[in-house]
Symmetry: C4
Subunit: 206 residues, 4 copies
């Protein structure tokens, strides 16, 4: 174990893992299998599948998004060594937004290329990003943080948290002008991350 971990902390982390795992797996429930008559040609079947492509893409993107939030949570809490009841409420709010993701995914993929669903999806992601920043920040600060956690890793968790917020905000902005590609805003996350790391290095040198 990376540090001495409280039992209450472990149970909270476990509960969070379970909600992340259920939300990520429930995404598939919104995929409805087409049922064609027995005499259908291969072409008809392929066409039925082709109509589901927006749903498949949404499933994949939302799977990646929830996976990304889980990995951030995973990394931040591996640096926590103590339990604090202060994080419980914020963590529950974060889980609530994550549990809401299957709905916004279904809404977006049923109304592809439209502005309102795109904005709604990206705003949900922004809410998750802000709560993620708060929760992971609390987990990597006293009194929760493990005394033996490396300052570099803690700095990385924060930079990543801020980058996800900036990437989600970019996605919201994109949703207004190019609803169909709003999720591309997330691809700016590595850029923000690099920018923040560069700024921090400059600060340390100064």
């Amino acid at each position: 174990m990376a540090g001495k971990t409280d039992h209450a902390l472990e149970r909270m982390v476990f509960f969070s893992d379970a909600v992340f795992a259920i939300a990520i797996t429930l995404l598939v429930i919104e995929l409805h299998a087409p049922e064609l008559p027995r005499s259908s040609s291969d072409a008809a079947q392929l066409q039925a599948l082709a109509q589901l492509v927006p749903h498949f893409v949404s499933f994949a993107i939302s799977f990646a998004v929830i996976g990304m939030f889980w990995m951030g949570h995973h990394r931040a809490f591996s640096l926590a060594g103590h339990y604090s009841s202060k994080v419980l409420g914020w963590n529950l709010l974060l889980l609530g937004v994550i549990a809401f993701m299957p709905f916004v995914t279904a809404y977006l993929s049923s109304n592809i290329f439209q502005r309102v669903p795109a904005i709604f999806y990206c705003l949900t992601m922004l809410a998750a990003a802000l709560l993620n920043l708060k929760v992971n920040g609390t987990a990597t600060s006293p009194p929760m943080v493990d005394e033996k956690a490396s300052p570099e890793t803690i700095a990385y968790v924060r930079q990543r948290g801020i980058s996800v917020v900036l990437g989600s905000a970019s996605a919201v902005a994109l949703a207004f002008v190019m609803p169909a590609f709003c999720q591309a805003g997330l691809m700016s996350i590595p850029l923000w991350l690099r920018l923040l790391a560069w700024r921090d290095r400059k600060r340390v040198r100064a």
Copy 2:
């Protein structure tokens, strides 16, 4: 670890956590994404979302309610150090009522402002509150309680359990006269908690 914990106790707590996590995440299944034609205006989309507001509110409230019961369970069992088979049946009953919450949430939000669904919802909550009181009371009493658990925290768990029962009973009462706002009865929980804490302090002084 807060105290010496039996393996059987851990497994029961784990199973409970899993049921809480699944029930809280299944709430989203009752939210059905609207599917509008491609040519829909932004206004039509916003209107479709607006019609879902009662469902969103119910999702949020039920998420908070299940979260609250989970937090109480979490707090009580962090004080338990030994396993007792006496708690198994009651805990299973509590989990049964929690697993029932997605149904009553869907029923309430599909029949908003009506008396019977409101009473049904609040009675379910009252059942959960009573079972919660029983389970958490058993977990924080001999033979289950950890010998090193602080008497103040145990007293707090009991006060909170009673407050949740009184708050749920208030919600049931409200459901008869103001079905639309029955869940507001839950907002009386902090008041009951303060009242009970004040009574206990008075008792200690006497």
Copy 3:
């Protein structure tokens, strides 16, 4: 921890707990909330709820049945101290039947008082009972059993396993003659348990 437990054993137990927890919570998905017009009277709402009573009863019974199998699994594996790959396949089969329970529950409660669904439900339960006997027997025998496990508890696990098989078989028999009350066959479990305990005590004396 009651005994020295292998990591592989822990992970298998964890996986089983998760499947039990998901199956027990998925039961609620088959309950469909009625949606009545806004102007409905309280009487209409109560009538809509009354029509769901068979579904509520089925939910409660199946919750208790899955809970009972989980408790048996819980008890048996708390006596196991070593991992054996021999149990993996049988345990997976048991979990498959448990995961099938939400379907048979929905089928039974949608076709109440009919013979075929009742027999189908009870046969599923019998399959679970037989696999439960096999799995729990393997967990409480060498090489899996913990050397420090008490022989009385092991004997109890076996008696209980056999009683559940006999109770399920009684339910199957009842399903042929009184489909509506087939699950009442389960109520014979405590009788079988007492009978087996009495036989064993007699044997020990002889």
Copy 4:
């Protein structure tokens, strides 16, 4: 515990177990219980059940397939002793394909005996097999592998991983010519396993 296990590794394994468990249990959601009028004869009920047989068979096969992947994951990670962030992304991809299985199962069983759904199902299985090979290979190689893990078991994990890929590829090939029996390709897995073991033994001797 088989070896010294990092906390981060444990949490990743736990998350994977949860996704496997949810995906395997969600298979049942695609089984829709028939609802017949009260006056239906036993024959009508049996006929309704008979029509569900393809769905039952698909449920059983997919349960076995996900169970097989879980068992492989279970075996491989019981040989891992250290955490490496390199495995995180590949593991998430594997879980994404596993979470997709309930959809392809529903699609296959709703369009039984047709070529496109059979190919789609088997390609999904092949994707899972390839990711499984990558993930389990990473878990049983430095820096993740436990130093005390036996080389024979590691060799077995690899042989099994390759056999599952070959078996899935056989299933894809079969799907083109005999869509109804494509899953029979999986039955070649033990043959591939024996072949690979024989080749490895020959190599060792040489």
